[in-house]
């Protein structure tokens, strides 16, 4: 371990940690609101460690969606990480197997973005730096979840204080974050129409799979225009 680089990582990750903190607390509060205990919420933050998909998970769990569909949705929302891990491969080839395990576990959006940027500037993507950057975000994420969950338990009726609109608005924000992607509008239009129709004609939770499938199929069928081999764009998770 190189202390200097570890400290550099801590400094680099600090602002990200501050920005992510309200979302950790929000997750904790809404998780409790959707039937989680404080310990469940903390356990999920510590093991899944992917904010957007955690929100999707509690939303679907709270609506009694079948477990396999919850897991599939979490997988789908996190799918962008496949692109990150493919892209980051060349920078972390020198990590040991155990180091790679930790590196992939901590591979959230800003971790990917900063690693790429560091490599592009010719700085070493060392394990010390990577771990410092990751841990300064990881541990506060868990602590903030616990704080949010404790507050969430004190809240009686979430609707009376307007908590129920926060998840749809949060997801709306995430969707808007993808608006620079190719074929964004047709995909969103197809998924909107299909999910609303499926909700009406088939019922929850099928609106998720049917709506998503409509958008994905449309994306595959539309004419392809993008140059191959571009780097994946980083979306802000929060």
């Amino acid at each position: 371990m190189n202390r200097d680089e570890f400290r550099q990582g801590l400094r680099g990750g600090f602002p990200i940690m501050v920005a992510a903190s309200p979302f950790g607390a929000l997750f904790g509060a809404l998780a409790v609101d959707n039937g989680f205990t404080i310990a469940d919420a903390v356990f999920m933050s510590a093991t899944v460690y992917a904010g957007a998909s955690q929100m999707v998970g509690i939303e679907l769990f709270g609506n009694n969606v079948q477990p396999w569909l919850v897991v599939l949705s979490v997988f789908a929302v996190n799918f962008r990480h496949v692109l990150y891990s493919a892209s980051i491969a060349k920078h972390i080839r020198h990590f040991t197997l155990v180091q790679k395990f930790f590196a992939f576990f901590l591979l959230i959006d800003p971790q990917y973005a900063e690693s790429e940027r560091r490599a592009e500037h010719g700085l070493p993507v060392s394990f010390s730096w990577y771990l410092g950057f990751g841990l300064i975000i990881y541990f506060p994420w868990i602590i903030n979840t616990a704080i949010g969950a404790v507050f969430g338990q004190l809240i009686g009726d979430p609707k009376a204080i307007g908590l129920d609109v926060l998840l749809p608005i949060y997801f709306l924000g995430l969707v808007l974050g993808f608006r620079k992607r190719d074929r964004f509008l047709p995909v969103v239009a197809a998924s909107s129409v299909a999910s609303v129709a499926a909700m009406h004609f088939v019922g929850s939770p099928w609106h998720v799979s049917i709506g998503a499938l409509a958008g994905v199929l449309l994306a595959a069928c539309l004419p392809q225009e993008r140059e191959p081999g571009e780097m994946p764009a980083v979306e802000k998770e929060a």
């Binding site: 205990t37 999920m44 929302v77 891990s85 609109v165 709306l172 924000g173 994905v216 993008r226």
Partner: protein, 102 residues
């Protein structure tokens, strides 16, 4: 621990494994196959927006006037500002509609 709660624990573990699979998957794929077919890539690229849209559109259509109004306000904010501001403004909007208008 009752069965239902144990099922939740299993669910969280499965979600964690699925997430870790996405974080390792690209590395494994890139060392195995050199080229992803463009249509497959386009489909994969569309997955997150497509999934998340299904959690937004039905809430807007079936959530009632108060929810739809606050989502519209949040949408306008989201075109320029961060998600955190969307949440704040959307929350204020729903409280105003619920307690002052309806």
């Amino acid at each position: 621990m009752d069965v239902q709660h144990l099922n939740l624990i299993y669910l969280i573990i499965a979600a964690a494994v699925a997430t870790f699979a996405t974080r390792v998957g690209g590395y494994v794929l890139i060392t195995q196959l050199k080229h992803i077919p463009p249509r497959l890539e386009a489909a994969l690229n569309a997955v997150p927006a497509a999934v998340l849209t299904t959690l937004v559109a039905p809430a807007f259509v079936y959530g009632g006037f108060d929810v739809a109004a606050s989502m519209l306000v949040a949408f306008a904010v989201g075109l320029r500002f961060s998600t955190l501001r969307m949440l704040l403004v959307g929350w204020v909007a729903v409280m105003v509609v619920r307690h002052l208008i309806l």
